[in-house]
């Protein structure tokens, strides 16, 4: 199932039990899988037109009335385009708005450079009070949504629209503010998020054949970051690699380095977009072009060891 279908399915069920949830989109309901929801709840799902700045502040206004608005659009328009509205109307005003940005980073594929948010986490991470969450797979998104609704305050959900590889089973425990340890290891810590989790798992399997034991930790929530899990892992491995679908400036690499620099400095190497803009391409082509494949992780791990 595509992640957008899971989103629609879960929101529909949450809307049934919580009448304060409303959804606003800026003319991207269909691509984000919410076309059907619009028909089901015409008085709670609104297309506000192609006007993202207005959408963000309208949502803040509705939140001040007790509603829990979700605003939905592509990741670059949900973040860099409306940065000031998120900062002032939503975060500074302490409003309970949930922001969904889809197709982050290179997953925008054929929409190309204008639609590729390599900086969305960096832009939002420096705004106080916002939680930033990137679901890795459908199970994680499903488990996160009720926690996000129960937690007052702004949340940015950076999610894939299409099919994500299943990583977690239904039985896996999920806590929005705790990193998920996918594999334990002793030689290197690989902190990863989003589409890079799958690459990290492949890399770890191949590394194990060469007797290199990699620990894989999924940082699904980059803010507030789970310092404890990062430090615990690195105190054991003494070295780290980060893997993200984002500019290495401002994203996961930065966030992990901030934790380590202050508490436990060790060598850290990044996998991700090296301060470049995006371009059109299919996901495998783009992963190759930006050196974001498991082979690149293996190479980087070997460099650091």
């Amino acid at each position: 199932m595509e992640m957008r279908q899971i989103l629609a399915q879960e929101l529909e069920s949450l809307m049934k039990s919580n009448e304060n949830i409303v959804i606003l989109n800026a003319d991207l309901a269909k691509p984000n899988g919410l076309g059907g929801l619009n028909k089901k709840y015409p008085d709670r799902v609104f297309n506000v037109g192609i006007a993202e700045q207005n959408m963000a502040s309208v949502a803040a206004g509705m939140s001040s009335y007790g509603f829990i608005p979700f605003i939905v659009t592509f990741a670059p328009f949900a973040t860099r385009r409306i940065c000031d509205q998120i900062a002032v109307s939503i975060c500074y005003a302490k409003q309970n708005v949930k922001i969904i940005g889809s197709d982050p980073g290179i997953t925008a594929e054929l929409n190309g450079g204008t639609h590729m948010s390599m900086e969305d986490i960096g832009v939002l991470r420096s705004i106080p009070g916002i939680t930033i969450f990137e679901p890795t797979d459908n199970t994680q998104l499903k488990k996160a949504l009720p926690q996000i609704i129960d937690m007052p305050g702004p949340v940015y959900i950076r999610m894939l629209r299409k099919t994500a590889t299943d990583i977690f089973s239904e039985k896996t425990e999920f806590n929005l503010t705790k990193a998920s340890i996918i594999r334990e290891g002793t030689d290197i810590s690989i902190f990863c998020s989003g589409i890079m989790v799958e690459e990290a798992i492949k890399a770890a399997k191949m590394l194990s054949e060469e007797s290199i034991s990699a620990e894989i930790i999924n940082i699904h929530t980059i803010k507030p970051i789970d310092k404890e899990s990062i430090l615990k892992s690195v105190q054991k491995t003494k070295k780290a690699v980060t893997a993200e679908n984002h500019n290495i400036i401002g994203g996961l690499y930065s966030a992990v380095c901030e934790v380590l620099a202050e508490n436990y400095p060790v060598p850290v190497k990044p996998i991700g977009v090296m301060d470049e803009f995006g371009q059109v391409g299919k996901l495998p082509e783009l992963k190759k072009a930006y050196k974001m494949r498991f082979q690149d992780i293996i190479e980087t791990v070997k460099e650091i060891l």
Partner: protein
């Protein structure tokens, strides 16, 4: 109620609070005094003892720099102690330069980044419709603020949503920070623009007349569309040196000496 003496008193309070910190947004605060007085003392369904009463009427001052005028009225209505006015813009205050709903009792939305408060008001008016609570939502925007694209995004949506519970006042004092609106980036003709965006418009010839504003509000309340009330005001109204300073009154120094002079003038002594 004698609205003109209430306006006089509010003007004195605004100037006193700004003088207590030495400078501030004098011009725009003085131009909306009559509007705030007619709203808070005649039209708004509010309870200062319970500032967050559900279903209350709300005011979003999108031109958030006019906080000093809002605070003078809120304190007079009993939302908080009048002495707090003298903490305006002092470190740790609950009365910051721009309106902050998390700091000041009675402030319905945090504003200051121009254009945003108006969109918030659109969201609030929609929320009120969804709750069917019959509240009236008022917004105040500046004429210079109409240069923000977000205003027109919000205007389009409000009429599309048929938010006839939203009444927006444009403080058309013809001046913005750097000079005359018509010379910087003309927003005229405001009437035609708002009409074209699907709003009912009312032009108030003298936007510093409580009586004229009152009539416009009564008319707007019976509309089946959102209403834009264009108030032709004078920036710095009521105080000669402020009016004379024109755009320099947007934010200006206000010494205790100038305050004394202004109060004398307002009392009719000079």
């Amino acid at each position: 109620m004698d609205f003109s003496s209430k306006c006089l008193q509010i003007r004195k309070d605004i100037l006193s609070e700004i003088a207590s910190v030495g400078s501030g947004h004098v011009g725009g605060s003085l131009s909306v005094v009559e509007l705030l007085v007619i709203l808070y003392y005649k039209h708004m369904n509010i309870d200062p003892k319970n500032p967050k009463t559900e279903g209350r009427d709300r005011l979003i001052v999108s031109k958030g720099h006019c906080g000093p005028a809002v605070y003078a009225v809120l304190s007079d209505k009993g939302y908080f102690d009048k002495n707090l006015l003298y903490t305006l813009n002092k470190f740790g205050t609950n009365l910051p330069s721009h309106c902050d709903m998390n700091k000041t009792p009675g402030v319905d939305m945090t504003t200051g980044s121009l254009g945003q408060g108006f969109s918030c008001a659109v969201g609030i008016a929609k929320a009120s419709k969804l709750r069917s609570d019959n509240a009236t939502i008022y917004a105040i925007i500046g004429d210079g603020e109409c240069q923000e694209g977000q205003i027109w995004e919000g205007a389009m949506l409000a009429s599309h949503w048929k938010l006839n519970n939203l009444i927006t006042f444009i403080d058309y004092n013809k001046l913005q920070l750097d000079g005359k609106v018509e010379e910087i980036c003309n927003v005229a003709p405001l009437n035609e623009k708002w009409k074209a965006f699907g709003w009912d418009t009312i032009n108030v010839e003298n936007g510093n007349s409580c009586e004229e504003i009152d009539k416009a509000i009564l008319k707007a309340k019976s509309s089946n569309k959102p209403s834009a009330i264009i108030l032709n005001t004078i920036k710095g109204y009521g105080v000669k040196f402020a009016e004379k300073a024109e755009s320099n009154n947007h934010s200006m120094p206000l010494s205790q000496e100038l305050l004394k002079e202004a109060i004398k003038e307002l009392d009719g002594d000079i």
